[in-house]
Amino acid sequence: MANKQGYTLFATITTLKNTPSMYRVRNLFPILLLSFFGLFPLRQIQALEPPRFEKDILPILYHHCFACHSEKQAKPKGKLRLDCVDGIQSSGVVVPNKPDESELLKRVLLPHTEVEAMPPLKGGAQPLNASEKAILRQWIANGAKMDSWVRFDHRQTAFMQTDLANPKKNHQQWSVELQERIDQWHQARGTKLNPPVNDESFLRRVYLDVIGRIPSLGESTRFLESKNPDKRAKLIDELLASEGYVSHMFNWKADLLRLNTRGLSPGQPGKLYDDWVKEAIRSRMPYDAFVRKLVTASGQLWENGAVGFYVRDLGMPLDHMSNMSRIFLGTRMECAQCHDHPLEPINQKDFYQMVAFTFGVSNLGNPGGYSLENVKQFPEIKAKLASMKKDEALEQSISGTIAPMKRMTLDTDKKLTFPETYGYDTTLRGKLVEPRTLFGDEATIKDGDRRKAFAEWMTSPRNPRFAKNIANRLWKRVMGVGLIEPVDSLSALPNPTHAELMDFLTQMMVQLRFDERAFLAVLLNTRMYQSESVRETPEPGTAFALRGPQLRRLSAEQVWDSHLVLLVPDLDERKSTFQLSGVLDPKYLRKLTAMTADEIIAQARINQVEHARKRQISLRRAEQQKERAAALARGDTAEAQRLAVLHAKENKETADSNPKPESEGEITAKETDPRWKLLPPNLIRASETPLPLPLGHFLRQFGQSDRREIDAFNRDPNTTHSLALMNGDLTNRALADGSLLRRQLAASGLKDEFRTQLVYRAILVRSANADEIAITKNATQESKTPEQDVIWALLNSPEFLFNH
């Protein structure tokens, strides 16, 4: 009994999203909970209007039934199809006006412990919640009408562009029309926008949303004192065109693509992929071109950084497709990698048919590692070695030298077959998989170029989910909540609350030719964006109410970068001095790729000598340590000291500029720019900081993604955050007399209350109210460090950590 209740609770909470809004009462959960105790009759929550099929019943059938009872299965379970009128009517599972005689309802009402209960838990499906069961009952009781519905189109029709005859000229016009749509949405519901924000709130918010940090004192003052009536629109344009935009957008793309500067693959410098993405953003590459270039990328990483897209998932073409589908199409397919998806009508065959487009891409070379394609010099090298005396050491050095080249990304003849364990149709086991798109148009493959066809299908304006996906994600970026949530679960069903608005945004994305900055400009100029934020906790499963942006914690990167504003002048211009060198230097790698067989052998000998030299140094250092330790063990400290001096001299002569073997090929050069020479090298924006970072780093503590998985960031409050803010390095630096912030405050010449106001502006980007001025004055009366006290308190105030 307890199990059943607990179980139904689970079903209620996790499938709340399927409950149409008209049935959703505030705090539905306690009502349903109480209903289990018979304390609150369910009848109370039934609305006045009878359920409509496509709006209310179809989503239930889709989420709970189609995975087994649709045209998607070669043999629908029990020969029952529920995805078409014929299927439902001819089966007799629904008896109009007689819910208690309808098998469909009877089966979903059975307790999940019964073998005949539907959907079966064993299959991994989610059972219906009480509300859904009630809606079904009501629909049947009212005649089980299906209006004009005939069948469910699993393939979804292509997205059709509208309004092409009347293209908007600029983003201001788009903004106005978007706002009109939002206003209409409110009118239909009797709701409205929150009040508009003042300049201070707008200033802080727009800096954080567009360039990922708070404004500096100078930037704030300039904006707040400007009398230009168009200053907000101008600021939006400036920020979107700035280098700061690249930094903030990079962090977002990096989380999606799982970029890892030093962790891409051994010998494959991830920095080259990072840099390619940054340059794509900086050069305003349209989003569709960006995706096409990634999907069709070929070659070596140092010739085309975009191949990082394939190197990242080396040897894992199935997982690669799962990830691709999630980030570019907002469709999670990974369940279907191994079996039919239990919660959606996507089956394993669908999945394999998608993979068939990119399965032929290889960066593993042949089983031996080398082929004519990726290391064209290899046959000649092999021949030359055969003609020489066997030199195992040289062979190993050659192998090590050409190793990076074998990860070349290229198309091969490899063809995907159905696995030997494929359970849904044993006749397909071992057979070739024909590529087929999951929805929308079919892809036309020309000249056998599957990737090109796939990329064209994916990025086409006609693709039902491509433009929609990026539009929804970008909306979420600045408004805090997607129109469709979760953002990687776009469905074949129209969103119950925001279908029209989502369609409008999708149209806009297509007409703006996938220009992300232009799209953002439209959103940022709306009155909705410039309204007060929604300050309540968002409820999972509740549609966004469009009153204003959702208040949310800053990302780890935004917190870090905002601290840095107080410490580093011209922050957006400061780049990392992390460099690739030696065997990871792209210049060396490009040279290597073009070498002849003889030149490679010669290079291998050079590498061999260098390697031996480093090894000698390492061994000698170990010996030195032993000698000193032995002296200390004997109690002979004088000898130990003598040895220490001798060894230091010896080591200087064999000075090795290259760092430890583990980080071979990476160096951090000295900072030469006078603006930053006196600052530590790690005070650079998060987008510049090479990953992975150690666990104790500020960014990791505050939840930066480890880039192992898509969007693996975290924003939950934690005691370690407070410890870091109270006692950590960044706060101490801000408080120090010589910090940028303190110097700026001193240079202002302001005192007392005016000085305090300046501190507020610098850190919280607003003025203090009279109470706050009084509290600060009072608290710091006896203090010898009043200014530091206020800075500390503001940096440790929750307000600093939120986008409000």
Partner: protein, 425 residues
């Protein structure tokens, strides 16, 4: 990341509410058919997981093959366990072997560091579409931790790529201690700040924060004000002292040695004394000895040998060993054949060694065998999931209990691993 009190987020509220009202966890408890746990297998109040990063050579440590050329001239020595010999590199551990069960028949299919390490920590094969929780996270999720104030899951000197809490909530992730000699990060006042300054500043911050929180119903706003109070309390609390190893008797500190791994082991003992459930310490020596095997072992083994032996001895002396399971783990072994070119050994997942001690594990015991040259398993193959099942069962975790990822996929603590009952007395 781990808050020192559970947060009052909606999920936790529901879980606690569900537990109180229905006596079950929120998700349907679909159990796989699992073995019951014999009483003598579930004695571990705490687990100390010693992870040798890089794949430590088995024939150079706990599975020597005396006399064969592959040993490279390194000898085996007798130990305090009858009939058991280990490598001469571990003279101090040789005196502790009467506490230890060696599993010399470990075997794995993952011969790459990332993948092998991931499997060792999560019992699942690494995939780019999901991150599985590490064993420590499973532990605090399923059986909590005896000490209600300190975090129950701690990671000392952990790798940046550690899977941590995977898809489970982040408050179950291990608290990272980067430098065990430095105590809890950021828990001490900065050098120039006095107590009065600190009190003044925290009071001011709380006053500022109240205003914001009053106008912001979002639960994280109040949560951030609360974690600040928690942090201040923590800084003043007695519990913080457990992280300070300098408080330990200098003789004891010297016994563990000054290497990071040694300090980490000392910290782990203190944490176990305070009732922390799961502590992992990574030994960051470069055990990935592709070059100069013998010389590298000569250099690296003394501090590790010292630390491990000191830990077992110390736990035993304090009567903690009976309720503490200590495990030495690594991602794979190393090829017995030494390379002509590099004088090193390559990766060798076909057979390698883990060991177990404490919490009812048989002492002086050897489970399984590798063949005469240390190349393959000869008897009783054991996988890493099997070991994790053994550890989980020792903590009293139900091996059949399924947990679901946010996308609805079910997982168990050790996947298909079967506990090695023969390790227990």
């Amino acid at each position: 990341m781990y808050p020192f009190h559970s947060d009052t987020g909606r999920r936790n509220f529901l879980e606690r509410f569900a537990k109180a009202v229905f006596g079950v966890s929120l998700l349907p408890s679909v159990r796989a058919l699992g073995a019951h746990t014999p009483k003598n297998h579930a004695k571990a109040k705490s687990v100390i997981f010693l992870y040798m990063r890089g794949g430590i050579s088995h024939i150079d440590t706990f599975d020597p093959k005396p006399g064969i050329p592959e040993m490279g001239g390194v000898n085996a020595i007798p130990t305090s366990a009858d009939g058991v010999q280990i490598s001469e590199w571990f003279p101090r551990m040789a005196k502790q072997m009467h506490h230890v069960s060696l599993v010399r028949s470990m075997t794995s299919t993952q011969g790459i560091h990332d993948q092998g390490t991931y499997l060792a920590h999560t019992s699942y094969v690494m995939t780019p579409t999901i991150t599985h929780p590490s064993l420590g996270t499973w532990a605090v999720k399923q059986v909590g931790s005896p000490n209600r104030v300190l975090p129950g899951n701690i990671l000392i000197n952990g790798s940046p790529q550690h899977p941590r809490s995977g898809f489970m909530p982040t408050h179950l992730a291990p608290l990272p201690i980067v430098d065990p000699g430095a105590g809890l990060q950021n828990a001490a006042l900065p050098p120039k700040t006095g107590e009065t300054d600190f009190s003044r500043r925290t009071a001011l911050a709380q006053a500022m924060g109240k205003g914001f929180v009053q106008g912001t119903p979002h639960r994280d706003a109040a949560a951030y004000l609360k974690v600040q109070q928690d942090a201040v309390a923590l800084m003043k609390s007695e519990d913080l002292k457990v992280f300070d190893i300098s408080r330990e008797n200098p003789k004891v500190q010297a016994a563990y040695g000054t290497h990071t791994f040694g300090k980490g082991c000392l910290l782990a003992r203190r944490l176990v004394e305070s009732g922390v459930r799961f502590i992992e310490i990574e030994d960051a020596h470069n055990w990935d000895t592709h070059n100069d095997q013998v010389k590298s072992m000569e250099k690296m083994t003394p501090p590790t040998d010292q630390a491990m032996a000191a830990l077992l001895e110390d736990l035993h002396q304090r009567g903690l060993l009976a309720s503490t399971l200590v495990v030495m783990a690594t991602e794979f072994g190393r090829t017995p054949q030494i390379s002509n070119v590099t004088a090193g050994r390559g990766h060798h997942p076909a057979v390698f060694t883990w060991w177990f001690a404490g919490a009812g594990v048989k002492g002086g015991n050897v489970h399984g065998k590798s063949d005469g040259s240390g190349n393959h398993v000869q008897e009783k193959p054991v996988t890493m999931p099997d070991c994790n099942a053994t550890i989980a069962q020792a903590m009293g975790i139900d091996l059949g209990q399924m947990e679901h990822s946010p996308s609805g996929r079910p997982f168990t603590v050790a996947d298909k691993g079967k506990p090695v009952g023969e390790l227990f007395a």
